[in-house]
Amino acid sequence: MTAGTPEHTDTKNVGEDITSSELLTIHSARALAGRRVVFAGHGLPTLATALAQRTVAPEIEIVYESGVTGARPPDLPRTISDSVLVPGAASVIPMTHLFNYVLQGQRIDVGFLGAAQVDRYGSLNSTLIGDDWEHPDSRLPGSGGAIEAMAGAAEIFLVMRRHTPRTFVETLDFVTSPSPHRAAQSEVGTMPAGAGVTHVITDLGIMTRFARDEELTLSAVHPGVDPAEVVRQTGWDLQVATDLETTQAPTPEELAVLRDDLDPSRLYLR
């Protein structure tokens, strides 16, 4: 299903022991149904993409920043540069080709990323917390390839482990990867090729936006989540869809693949 499919089934098969990282991963994977060429970022996006390949999107071509395309790893990759991604992959190309021809060349349907902060138009911060680039309060990993994924992919999906006013902010501490809305305010450089962030999957629900100057809108909440709570946990005046939906709870099958096959050591499911 895609994010926000109406939910009419009961949830009796789902115990209260489902962790938020399991919930996030399952909804992230479902959002990839029907998508083909997907760039999988560090962390939960890697796990969600692997789950999608085993469930809703068996034809998916997973592309990693390390240059691996069409990966079908027998074991869960521990990072995007894990050598387990290589055996059985369709190709391993130099990163020059990956960045110039695949990302900048606009060959990616969905870039799946995480971030420390996101704003209402889907600009992302993965660089720092604080107000001084030279001496931040907390130095974060930085762009990696996120700026290029945002600039080149047709769409960006974003997974955020914790939906709080500190992560969903009015003003980013640093704009690492700018939304097309933000990029349009600049007069220098090349406009992003794609739509920017279209889906945000969080522990409380799912937000979507589909046009350059459209804000992220709460389109679905997870079962038992009060939409007013999502608004409270968002640092801007969050719009709620008039046809707000409730997400379908994880199925036993999804949970089994995730827990038993993909991440039994709970590397990502922490």
Partner: protein
């Protein structure tokens, strides 16, 4: 021409205090042994070019080898933070660090320009990013063909580049497989190039599979055989990544004194990489074994 030498001799011959040195490898084929030798020989005032950082950045910082860093990702892969790096960036503790920050695409473009001996390289990203505002070396130029102004990044030509690969012949024809990162571009961009390899092999092995060569010998100044020279990173077909080591580093490096002690015991008090590996324990690499997966040979046959 035989370019083989010891790691100690290669670093001593080709590196100088104050140099910009590129140590490249993206979570695979990382020249870790070379980084350790730079620490052992106590080089200083170096600027390190390293697209995506890892434990060696913290180790070189802790050993006071670096005053500058050119990078695009400054965490310890997925193993956590690099606390030596964070202390310098956040608090200038114990000294400030000149940090020239890009994205991965920006670093790719910088090495490409350097390898091609062009002054700069255009790049389609960065519009609207604060990085382009904060880093004065990310500039824009008019598009002479009528498009909107485009961002450019400057060529990167390290004084010395070091890469690690599976194998090379004595002349320095380098073969690698698995994830190739940015090594070919960094190799051509460098003014000097040291290649460390798991194995030095006979020239006939290299010539049996010429498409496998990622760097030809005319670029190479020194070839050094350093088995397990990329630990704690993986080498495809040789050994797996040592994630426990990388995680333990992020825990240890919270304490600056612990870093100093680690460097003393593991680097300064060991003569070479072999002695360093011995400290890990005789059976350490048993846990890092790999499952064989051979490719099928291809037919390079030409005219009869």
């Amino acid at each position: 021409m035989d370019k083989t030498m010891s790691l100690s001799e290669a670093i001593r011959t080709h590196l100088n205090d104050g140099d910009t040195v590129a140590l490249e490898g993206f979570g695979h084929l990382v020249p870790v042994a070379a980084a350790h030798e730079i620490i052992r020989q106590q080089f200083s005032n170096l600027t390190l070019a390293r697209m995506s950082c890892d434990v060696i950045v913290d180790q070189l910082l802790g050993a006071n080898c670096l005053t500058g860093l050119i990078a695009a990702f400054v965490a310890n892969s997925s193993a956590g933070s690099l606390y030596e790096l964070r202390r310098r960036v956040e608090h200038s503790d114990p000294d400030p660090l000149w940090f020239d920050e890009y994205s991965h695409g920006g670093m790719v473009a910088r090495y490409q320009a350097g390898a091609s001996k062009l002054p700069f390289q255009p790049i389609a990203s960065y519009r609207g990013s604060d990085l382009a505002q904060k880093n004065p070396r990310i500039k824009s130029v008019p598009d002479p063909y009528g498009g909107s102004p485009i961002y450019v990044v400057p060529a990167l030509n390290p004084d010395l580049t070091v890469i690690h690969a599976q194998r090379a012949d004595a002349a320095g024809n380098v073969q690698a497989w698995g994830m190739l990162g940015i090594q070919t571009e960094a190799a051509f961009a460098g003014r000097r190039l040291i290649v460390t390899v798991e194995e030095i092999v006979d020239e006939s092995i290299i010539r049996s599979d010429p498409n496998r060569t990622i760097v030809p010998s005319h670029v190479v100044d020194a070839v050094v055989e350093v088995p397990r020279g990329a630990h704690p990173h993986a080498v495809q077909g040789y050994y797996d990544r040592d994630d426990a080591f990388s995680r333990d580093w992020s825990a240890l490096a919270r304490d600056a004194e612990a870093v100093k002690q680690w460097l003393q015991t593991n680097i300064h008090d060991t003569a070479d990489h072999e002695e360093f590996l011995a400290l890990l324990g005789a059976d350490h690499f048993d846990k890092l074994g790999i499952r064989d997966a051979y490719s099928r040979p291809v037919n390079y046959g030409g005219r009869e």
